[in-house]
Symmetry: C2
Subunit: 464 residues, 2 copies
């Protein structure tokens, strides 16, 4: 279910009004009239966003917000607080308790809807990747918020004194590191990486074009900065239409220079909280992807990665050598010393092979005790020399076993196949497939096994 929004308000007409507006915008609103009912619903169902009134008959909205933030299941749920007053102390209290934004009633519908889609989009842009929506799939359960260390906030202004003024005002209310930057410094010079800020605050005062919106779009499109949250600072309250546009452009918040510095700091803090949530999501996704290409025992790349790299390397024009290596009589290691010792041997073999390979070479654990090595730009002669080196590197020095079980001499047999450099474009030639190359290396490996092991054999069919 998409866009499930909980409306918490004690006044029935308020709830109905919001419900009608959300329904017309094709969201799926539900209602709670008391704090207790809201907390009960939040525990039993899953929502995408909460619209929370501050005045409730039982608890205060602030209490509801605090409890919701203390529960790991709802700690990162977007909450927009709606207040009947526009008193600064209400806004401050709501932001301090963890609100993502505070709107005074009556709210502008277009602005509220743009803020809702802004917060939903922010939250969901990475979760698209879990097709089942099952976040445990990402080990995300592990990625709950821990200790919140200070972050880096980049204060961007065209005039350096404006950025310094901002820093001076925010400093007493911020535990984050505050950097002052010109627009050029924030974007970076294209060569050196720009300052790795978690949040940027753009002072939209002239001469900056467009109230800073173009600069914000620029930051959100650059590799080095697009994971940052970008907040705009307007000199006065923006027309609802302009603020809505800023949210649709991806602003993490729209701040007003007339707000007290403490409110600015609290809004930056909320932006920082959201940024860290998406950071954690991104990290666990990357971690998941790493697990998909690495072998957990040896830390080497796995078969899946090696096959994808082989396909990619075959598209390049240079020569390519493939070595298939299989440990000799490895089953007896597991049988005599146990699986832990066997895993230790595999890891040490991987370490030794890797020590004799270059940066552009690929080394993978291909199966149980089988390793695949891809040598771009190596022809048969050079690849044979490399394989001989690897063979000696294993056989020469015994591998110490864990737990004082002594040391063991481990050898491997090596089978080698090679694809020559591709002929010049335009020449008719049949491309050799990865499957063929692997089969040839496997065949050479079997010859090495048959001829006494601990040796290298090359596939010679195409050289005949």
């Amino acid at each position: 279910m998409d866009g499930k929004i909980l409306i918490v308000d004690d006044v029935a007409t308020n709830r109905i009004l919001l419900k009608v507006r959300l329904h017309a915008a094709h969201y799926c609103p539900m209602q709670a009239a008391t704090g207790a009912e809201a907390l009960r619903l939040l525990r039993s169902e899953s929502f995408d966003l909460v619209l929370l009134d501050l005045i409730l008959p039982d608890l205060t909205g602030i209490d509801v917000l605090r409890r919701l933030r203390a529960d790991p299941a709802t700690a990162n749920l977007p909450v927009i607080v709606l207040t009947a007053t526009s008193r600064p102390e209400d806004r401050l209290a709501a932001l301090a308790a963890g609100a993502d934004d505070v709107f005074a009633k009556p709210t502008d519908t277009q602005l509220l809807l743009s803020r809702i889609r802004n917060l939903l989009r922010d939250r969901q842009k990475l979760s698209d990747l879990c097709d089942s929506g099952d976040t445990a799939l990402l080990g995300l359960s592990e990625a709950a918020a821990g200790f919140e260390s200070p972050g880096v906030i980049g204060l961007i202004a065209s005039r350096p004194e404006a950025a310094l003024h901002l820093r001076h005002a925010l400093q007493p209310h911020c535990s984050d590191r505050l950097l002052t930057l010109t627009p050029d410094q924030a974007i970076g010079d294209g060569m050196a990486p720009p300052v790795p800020a978690d949040i940027f605050l753009i002072d939209g005062a002239p001469p900056l074009a467009d109230g800073g919106r173009a600069l914000m779009s620029d930051l959100l499109s650059r590799t080095a900065t697009r994971q940052a949250g970008v907040c705009l600072l307007a000199q006065a309250a923006l027309p609802a239409r302009d603020a809505a546009m800023a949210f649709d452009l991806g602003a993490s918040d729209v701040l007003h220079a007339e707000h007290p510095p403490r409110e600015l700091a609290l809004r930056l803090r909320a932006a920082m909280r959201r940024k860290r949530y998406t950071d954690r999501l991104l990290l666990s996704l990357q971690d998941g992807l790493r697990h998909a290409v690495f072998d957990p025992v040896t830390g080497l790349h796995n078969r899946r990665y090696a096959l994808a790299r082989l396909q990619a390397l075959l598209r390049q024009p240079g020569p390519l050598a493939v070595i298939m290596a299989d440990l000799d009589m490895f089953k007896s290691v597991n049988d005599r010393f146990g699986h832990a010792a066997g895993d230790h041997v595999l890891t040490e073999v991987g370490r030794r092979l890797s020590a004799h390979l270059g940066q552009s070479d690929v080394l993978a654990r291909f199966g149980g005790e089988e390793f695949l090595i891809l040598l771009p730009e190596e022809d048969m002669t050079r690849a044979q020399a490399t394989a001989e080196t690897l063979c000696r590197a294993l056989a020469e020095t015994p591998i110490p076993l864990p737990g004082g079980q002594g040391a063991l001499t481990v050898t491997a047999s090596f089978g080698l196949a090679c694809r020559d450099a591709l002929p010049a474009p335009g020449t008719n030639s049949v491309a050799i497939s990865g499957e063929t190359l692997l089969a040839e290396a496997d065949c050479a490996l079997m010859q090495a096994k048959a001829q006494g092991r601990n040796t290298v054999r090359a596939d010679t069919r195409r050289r005949a």
Copy 2:
């Protein structure tokens, strides 16, 4: 290197002018004066985008574009064609050859920059996930464009007759399926999934607010539609500032009603091509994530997934039972019948266990011949009954071996541990950790092994 842009133009002053503008915007421009030089650079270096003039001294820009699209390495590279004329036939030829956009010279700098960041952002939003930037890591090399089957284009207009008129005009030039939709139908009613269009074209004519930009932002924020490309159709050429804003909001293209229908169709085709590129990227990312949580041999979830789910389930208040199952004397299966037969047995065991478990239960291959089962909401009595059922399901019927090797009776030993329902909130209680629960189940499993195998034992320490 971020934002590496190749400028291809035979006139030195044009190149220098563009270079200065790109450099001022913190991109990293390079230059080519001929088609041959451009193709050579594109083969030897990696670019993020190309600005291509149509008139070159050797090849035509169209030739360069066709060759670039025919090479898998550059087939999806964004290309903006710059023409000295604004003749419709030049635009059509460039779009037909695979240009992402065509700008007449002199180009508005703000508009060109917003289109550049729009195309860069579109391309890179998913590649952030590969922290090394190594796309082979994703098996992406496999995901090269194949046969381009027709897609679905949703034509959205407030007045149904306007959408029908659009469909009538586009039909002769489009091989994609064209649907006519009202804005409400495109967003969906919140319950039923909306039409799964690949591309939406929004007719921005009144009464639609904001030239369709708000509706576009809405579509780009909804789970069901945010993977689609959204194009805006303006009634007349937009001011550069408005078109730039549309690109920064994420428009896949901005079309003009005054363009010939064939140009509209070609621009929609280019949007479709970009959409399919990100689709393939998304699919290979999801595939990578699946590999991170599934065991390739049995198709069951793996240890990593099971441990994450265990942590998540321990945070829920109900009881939780954990069963550790280990096949009895499994090594002899591999030794006698080979690894292929062993894998077949593991797969069949997984199938049988899974047939007796519910949807909310978790079954994972935990190690070599070890399976972990998590039973949410089951107490010791019920979990014991479940384990007995699983034990019988294995022992009762022999497993047929592949290759006519007969059938084999395979049994397993089961160790069981349980966490009771959590006491009411507020009560002081010590939470049991996942490690403890697993160790208890493991201990019970060892008892089952010691007591003759093919049996179930429960951890009884905390019940004493």
